[in-house]
């Protein structure tokens, strides 16, 4: 590395620190202050470190709403991803393996879903009609519908790298279509599946807009809505608001640390081909 590289690197590091790291430090420091101390919203170190007290208070707010929110968000994320993976892979598989007019039309519709904004109020009307409005089940299916475009896109691209000979061998052995798919193809999709799981779990976990519309109600709270709902309550308690931000950022942070590579793969492959 050249000397010049070090200097530019050092300057970039400094700028990146100010622009990208300081805001997060600001959150972390203020989350550990007392309400009084945090009200001035500056960068001074806490007069008294009250990390644990703030954490407990935040979790206890509104009858442990945060825990309920965590539970709801996890249920929605896990179930939606399970359905997305299986159903999405099935679609990507047939679209890729059977190039026909039907497949092209289906693919076009699904890609349009990547672009078109959902019609929210009519969707509420539909959800009410099938008794899924304000239910976790409804929210799960909504996330499946909205995540399908991205999932099918990735699966289709990946399946094209799996040799057809494998399916044909299974066909000759007399395997049924669902056996070919579940026994032969699906296990080979592991790398791209991991990518989809990681990227979609962050997207769904961080979703604010759709639960706001489709999942009203205190018992249906999700993590992103805790922040929104606590805003009024925490107005003079910035420390707790920041603690809340910190607590709901932990899952994506962990995913980021452990699955950095999959995120990069997913975001870029999905995007570059999109």
């Amino acid at each position: 590395m050249t000397r010049r590289g070090y200097i530019i690197g050092a300057i970039s590091l400094l700028v990146a620190f100010v622009v990208f790291v300081i805001p997060f430090l600001f959150v972390a420091i203020n989350a550990m202050k007392t309400a009084q101390d945090a009200s001035s919203l500056d960068f001074s170190l806490p007069e008294r470190w009250v990390f644990w007290e703030n954490l407990v208070t935040t979790v206890q707010t509104r009858d442990y709403a945060l825990l309920l929110a965590y539970w709801n968000s996890i249920v929605i994320t896990v179930c939606a991803i399970a359905l997305l993976v299986v159903f999405g892979a099935m679609v990507g598989f047939v679209i890729q393996r059977r190039p026909s007019r039907t497949s092209r039309v289906v693919y076009a519709f699904i890609l349009a879903g990547l672009m078109i904004p959902p019609a929210v109020v009519p969707t509420i009307w539909v959800l009410q009609g099938i008794n899924l409005f304000k239910t976790l089940n409804g929210m799960i299916l909504i996330q499946v519908a909205y995540g399908l475009g991205f999932t099918v896109l990735l699966y289709r691209a990946f399946i094209s790298t799996i040799p057809r000979e494998l399916d044909e061998a299974a066909i000759i052995d007399g395997a049924k279509p669902w056996q070919i798919f579940f026994r032969v193809v699906l296990p080979l999709l592991k790398p791209v599946t991991l990518t989809i799981i990681v990227v979609q779990s962050i997207t769904i976990f961080n979703d604010f807009t759709h639960p706001l519309y489709y999942l009203p109600g205190r018992e249906n709270i999700t993590v992103q809505l805790t922040l929104y709902n606590f805003q009024s309550q925490f107005v003079s308690q910035m420390n707790l608001l920041f603690m809340n931000i910190l607590l709901i950022t932990i899952p994506p942070l962990l995913v980021f640390i452990f699955f950095n590579r999959q995120i990069v793969a997913g975001m870029t492959s999905g995007a570059v081909k999109g």
Binding site: P216, G217, R218, S236
Partner: protein, 423 residues
């Protein structure tokens, strides 16, 4: 067939007689006061009627809450009891189609007449009983500042502005607190001016409902927007008025960082919660008009308690509503959260000791003709964008005339949505 009817009749008689245990569901808004009052009233009722128990749900306030209430009513999933606004917002619930008429409850005759008209549908049935006290909209002021500067309670808008000028000249504090991060707080100068509008234009509500009178071309009605513009142009607002919250506004007038804060009297609860030691530093007066002789207070009718037409326990529900609208019910409210204004039920009395700011409000109610309901209780239409428009006028983005014109358009939208005639 006839046997079936008999069985149903017997079942009905039994349930009305209270021989069957019943659980009533109840939807309240999530503010601390509403939850506390709901819990206290239902507990008191269960004590008298051990067969009847309640299950309480909460919903958010504002537009989000409105949607929940409307949706549940439209789909027949409404709880047996719920609380909601009186006046124009009630009309959007299509009360004649969705709510249970309660004209025959025992304490119906105790209800204030002016109030009853705000909980009736177009067909003339009554649907609600008052859940809390009436509210006044006016101006909170910091008493020590007034004493220090030798100011007097203004009876005209000019006197009010003169007071502001003195405060601006002689102190560093902001003459008027505004808090536009919570946009709804920006509407007060316009809404609380309605007593003054009515003094000059008594027919305004009716003509306005019939699409004959407009804010923009009725000088008296436009005054509210103009007052906001004047206050902004004089530079009387706190420096961070665009970013301050409702809590900040209350804090500013309690601690004397600001001399005035226009607000509804339900803020008493917040003063009590956040600044219990400073309660007596804050007083209250009505928003003054242009005529010292006609000085009075714009009044907000209480939030009301309603039941959906779909309830399976109409008799029990009505009995509970009758209890809420009785002196015994008011007593429970008094004990729970104190009083923030007068009750609209005959025989209900305020506690002996009320905070100074509440005491300041009571004389208006005691004298004939010194109160008038806000427009939303005299007309079924209220535009939803008023709060953004008043933020614009109060921030100097738009002048009063243009704000009033746009509000008239916003109102037209609401009238068409409701399918009113003449629009």
């Amino acid at each position: 067939m006839s046997r079936l009817t008999t069985t149903t009749a017997i079942a009905l008689t039994l349930s009305a007689g209270g021989a069957l245990a019943q659980e009533l569901t109840f939807l309240t808004d999530s503010s601390a006061d509403s939850v506390a009052v709901t819990e206290a009233l239902t507990a008191a009722y269960t004590e008298m009627n051990p067969d009847v128990t309640f299950s309480i749900e909460t919903r958010p306030g504002g537009g989000e809450g409105d949607n929940i209430v409307k949706t549940r009513l439209a789909t027949g999933e409404m709880t047996d009891l719920f609380i909601y606004n009186s006046g124009s917002l009630l009309q959007a619930l299509r009360p004649d189609r969705t709510l249970l008429p309660i004209d025959d409850i025992e304490s119906f005759d105790l209800l204030n007449e002016a109030y009853v008209s705000t909980v009736q549908g177009p067909e003339g049935n009554t649907y609600g009983v008052p859940y809390e006290t009436a509210q006044g909209g006016g101006i909170y002021y910091h008493k020590p500042t007034y004493e220090e500067l030798g100011l007097e309670i203004p009876r005209t808008w000019d006197e009010f502005m003169a007071n502001n000028a003195t405060i601006a000249e002689e102190t560093d504090i902001a003459p008027i607190a505004q808090s536009y991060r919570d946009t709804w707080t920006s509407q007060l100068f316009v809404l609380a001016d309605f007593y003054n509008v009515l003094q000059e234009e008594p027919d305004f509500p009716e003509e306005y409902t019939n699409n004959e009178a407009k804010y923009a071309d009725t000088p008296a009605a436009r005054r509210g927007f103009e007052k906001l513009q004047e206050a902004y142009e004089a530079g009387y607002f706190n420096e961070d008025f665009g970013a301050a919250t409702y809590d900040d506004g209350v804090a500013m007038v309690a601690t004397g960082e600001a001399a005035h804060y226009p607000m509804l009297t339900f803020a008493v609860g917040l003063f009590q919660q956040n600044h219990p030691d400073l309660m007596e530093d804050v007083g209250f007066f009505a928003q003054p008009g242009d005529d010292a002789e006609a000085n009075g207070l714009t009044v907000w009718m209480p939030t009301s308690l309603y039941a959906p037409a779909s309830t399976e326990h109409p008799e029990t529900v009505k009995d509970f509503m009758s209890f809420v609208a009785s002196p015994a019910g008011c007593e429970v409210v008094n004990e729970t959260i104190g009083a923030t204004g007068p009750y609209l039920v005959e025989g209900c009395e305020l506690p002996e000791e009320v905070p100074g700011m509440v005491a300041d409000m009571l004389p208006y109610f005691e004298e004939e003709g010194r109160t008038a309901p806000a427009l939303e209780f005299l007309s079924p239409i209220k535009g939803p964008a008023l709060e953004q428009l008043t933020v614009e006028v109060g921030s100097g983005i738009r002048d009063a005339q243009s704000g009033a014109e746009l509000y008239d358009q916003d109102v037209a939208k609401q009238a068409r949505q409701l399918g009113l005639e003449n629009w």
